[in-house]
């Protein structure tokens, strides 16, 4: 299996060959930043296209098909439109906070994006507490949303932001606990180590019942965390027109939009890493030939393939269910998910302690 660290080391050596070490590090930082941001933008565009196509297919339509073959260039056209749109200057807003909010949201998601192991040897940040860091930075986004709602000086925005606050704080618990369940199983918080330890079998198979329950809870809570349907109360279009980003225009709105899609990607890729083996290929114990073939598929394809499946499931949720009401949303979390999660955590501990897993 191709190891991307070969490439990164080669770049490192190449840079060090003609500049001092500090300069090389600086150049690498810039390079990584550029790669990360362009990757971020590309993935967001791909996701927007995928969402439009998938939702169209659920709705008996064919979706965008005018710009480029199969409408493939639609997202690019939209991006260009978004970039050249005017940033409308609104009276009676808290200008500083209003302009800050989209950046807070996007920075949170870029930071989280940096933690993800995309392929073998292709990971920007790899701490020993990687998963902890990821949860921490992704929670910053909520501050941005609250700021946006508050600074807009708009009643719809404020209600949207308040809903968002209640929702994200509640579901953070479920996300944290379901991730904790898997951390108990893996025995480490380092993302690369978690992936490595799934070489012998993905956690969702090895951890059987508690892992499956944790996976489902994680998906539900992750969908809620990204403010996507059926949990899109903060921007419930039929109630609050557009919720917390009602007043935003142009690229400021674009930031919220990008962050929403990237957060979905992050949720899906964390699910992939924790439950579905990350970039690890599918191995069947005993099927040597099959395993050999699987190994030939590059790790990056494995990672994005699995993430795509998870994303499809999240989209499937959104395009099937009606929106929850705020009390239903909180009831789901506090009455069903949280107790289930705690029981599941206990179950996982039992499984690990008594070595009941595969």
């Amino acid at each position: 299996m191709f190891d991307f660290s070969v490439v990164t080391q080669w770049v490192d050596q190449f840079l060090r060959s003609f500049m001092p070490a500090e300069m090389a590090v600086l150049a690498e930082l810039i390079l990584i930043g550029l790669c990360l941001l362009s990757g971020y933008a590309l993935i967001a565009l791909a996701l927007i296209y995928a969402e439009r196509k998938i939702c169209a297919f659920f709705q008996c339509r064919i979706g965008p098909d005018r710009v480029g073959p199969f409408g493939l260039l639609q997202s690019f056209a939209d991006m260009i439109k978004m970039l050249i749109k005017e940033l409308i200057d609104i009276n009676h807003v808290d200008r500083f906070l209003f302009n800050l909010a989209p950046f807070v949201v996007i920075i949170a998601s870029v930071l989280a994006f940096g933690c993800i192991p995309f392929a073998k040897g292709l990971q920007v940040l790899d701490f020993n507490v990687g998963i902890f860091f990821l949860i921490a930075v992704s929670s910053i986004g909520i501050v941005g949303i609250l700021l946006a709602g508050w600074a807009s000086n708009n009643k719809y925005s404020l209600i949207g932001a308040m809903r968002s606050g209640a929702q994200m704080i509640s579901y953070e618990l479920s996300i944290g606990l379901s991730i904790l369940t898997m951390v108990v199983f893996a025995g480490t918080m380092q993302l690369s180590a978690i992936v490595e330890s799934q070489a012998g079998g993905w956690f969702i198979f090895r951890g059987h019942l508690p892992a499956v329950i944790a996976f489902v809870i994680y998906l539900v809570a992750g969908t809620a965390e990204t403010n996507r349907g059926p949990f899109d109360l903060p921007e419930a279009d039929s109630e609050l027109t557009a919720g917390y980003h009602t007043e935003y225009s142009g690229m400021h709105f674009g930031f919220f939009y990008l962050a929403e899609y990237l957060n979905m990607f992050i949720v899906a890729s964390v699910a992939t890493t924790l439950f579905l083996g990350g970039w690890m290929p599918l191995h069947m114990p005993g099927w040597e030939g099959f395993n050999r073939v699987m190994d030939h598929i590059p790790s990056i394809v494995w990672f994005f393939g699995k993430t795509a499946v998870v994303i499809f499931i999240i989209m499937w949720f959104k395009w099937t269910f009606p929106r929850l009401r705020i009390d239903q949303l909180l009831r789901l979390e506090w009455r069903y998910l949280l107790p289930l999660n705690l029981v599941n955590l206990l179950l996982m501990v039992v499984v690990v302690v008594f070595k009941l897993h595969f």
Partner: protein, 163 residues
Amino acid sequence: MNSIKNYLHGFFSGLGSLTTGMKTTLRIFFRKKVTEKYPENRATLKIAGRFRGELIMPHNERNEHNCIACGICEMNCPNSTIRIVSEMQPDEAGKNRKVLTAYHYDLGSCLFCQLCVQTCPQNAIRFLPTFEHAVFTREKLFRRLNREGSRLMIRPQAPAGNQ
């Protein structure tokens, strides 16, 4: 105990209803799509013959129409969409007769109520099922229905059908 039963029942029946919905949408996901690709499908597009798109005055190959400028359509129009300009001209017998000079019709304020067509004693006007009427200025919606140099059909033949 009962409350726990209710709790669990609520949980699982809820989960069941959600999976039913997801199964249905997934089935529809793979079904044939219903999107109509307009304008590519212009050739095959079927518009009902009775659809009221715009009012026209049929002319025959000799540039003759059926309108006798009686003004009944103008009177019946609830929105004053039609304006008839006529003049008195002597016919072959030397009698002065009303002759149509211009039949003005404003597509922009037409209600498509069809009263003009229904009340026309000569079947001189009818609706066409065309629908691509978008224009940039309102002036373009003011139409003159009788063609340049057209005149009344001398022996009114079987009038054009009143669909």
